[in-house]
Symmetry: C2
Subunit: 201 residues, 2 copies
């Protein structure tokens, strides 16, 4: 056996590209959640993932772009959209997972750093928007469309707006008001989006 | 008469502090909307406002903090909350002014730069949150409270959430999805927040 430290290349052969890519995304996701966006440098990631910096430069235009993609990969399993047929229950369960990820599981800081950087760095913006924000929005839309087809949403409900009125609320608190929030908000949020704030009738 | 160029001190005496402050905020607001946050440096502002840089350093901890305060001063007259007694009409009119300011009147770029910087610069964060975001949220809340008292909102409606579900939607598109939007969105946005997305009953 050859000696193997953590984070060094295994053996002398090349690892398949898919494996390297997965290792890079995993290492980046870990760094991002544990230490925040400033820790995601190509140097650090190459060391932690046991890959070469040349590879990183070849595959990602900037560390911020890599960070956005890694966040998508890392959060996808947590943020799955259940479909039990009960829209309210499914929204409460998905949004609870989302808010927990942002708060207790510490994603709020790196996410706000990525979105912050996206406002002035076009590479981060493209990676965040095309690699995370819009694909996640589309997954939400798909679940809402099923609910609309089964009559749980008004036929004329604007589903894009409904996404904004659910997940956008959390981003508004995180980024704009910079106010603490937790998952106890979620049932009220879902009910108010579904029933409205005005009296019935 | 002494010669007076634009942007130089008038006469040899000191201007009252209130006048200097107003000139600084006006010059900063102009720079911010016309050229964006990077144009707001203490050098540029001092030159445009005819004030000394020492004064700026004394009054503001950073150019970003000055920019956030200037944006509040600049936008306040545009963003007044009407109270005609008709909540829906008043929300449509205020949000239309807000969306126009963000889009046609060009505030979207500087606002996203300020909020972006706020994610990593604590001075900008404090100035934005305490000098703009929360005071504006409180003005919205006050109008919603009047409406709730007159029975135009459910007694159990969460007014903080309603603010997030109205203005937060616009910030979500601006900052997170980075998608163009315009004021044609507003009536749908208000109706969906008031009536909800679920079928009645």
């Amino acid at each position: 056996m050859t000696e193997q430290g953590a984070g060094t290349r295994r053996g002398r052969g090349r690892r398949p590209a898919g494996e390297v890519r997965a290792a890079v995304l995993a290492a980046t996701g870990r760094l991002l959640l544990e230490e925040g966006l400033p820790a995601v440098t190509f140097d650090r990631v190459a060391k932690e993932a046991g890959s070469s910096k040349v590879t990183l430069y070849k595959w990602w235009p900037s560390p911020g772009a890599l960070a956005a993609e890694a966040y998508f990969a890392r959060s996808a399993p947590v943020l799955e959209f259940p479909d039990t047929g009960d829209l309210r229950a499914d929204l409460v369960s998905q949004l609870t997972a989302f808010v927990r990820l942002m708060t207790r599981e510490g994603a709020g800081v790196p996410v706000s750093q990525i979105v912050g950087a996206a406002q002035t760095d076009p590479y981060v913006a493209a990676a965040w928007v095309e690699g995370y924000a819009r694909p996640r929005r589309d997954l939400g839309l798909a679940r809402l469309r099923t609910a609309q087809q089964s009559g749980q949403l008004r036929p004329d409900a604007d589903l894009h707006l409904l996404v904004d009125q659910l997940w956008g609320v959390c981003y508004h608190r995180l980024l704009v008001l910079r106010e603490p929030f937790d998952e106890t908000l979620v049932p009220r949020l879902v009910d108010q989006a579904l029933r409205g704030a005005a009296p019935e009738g």
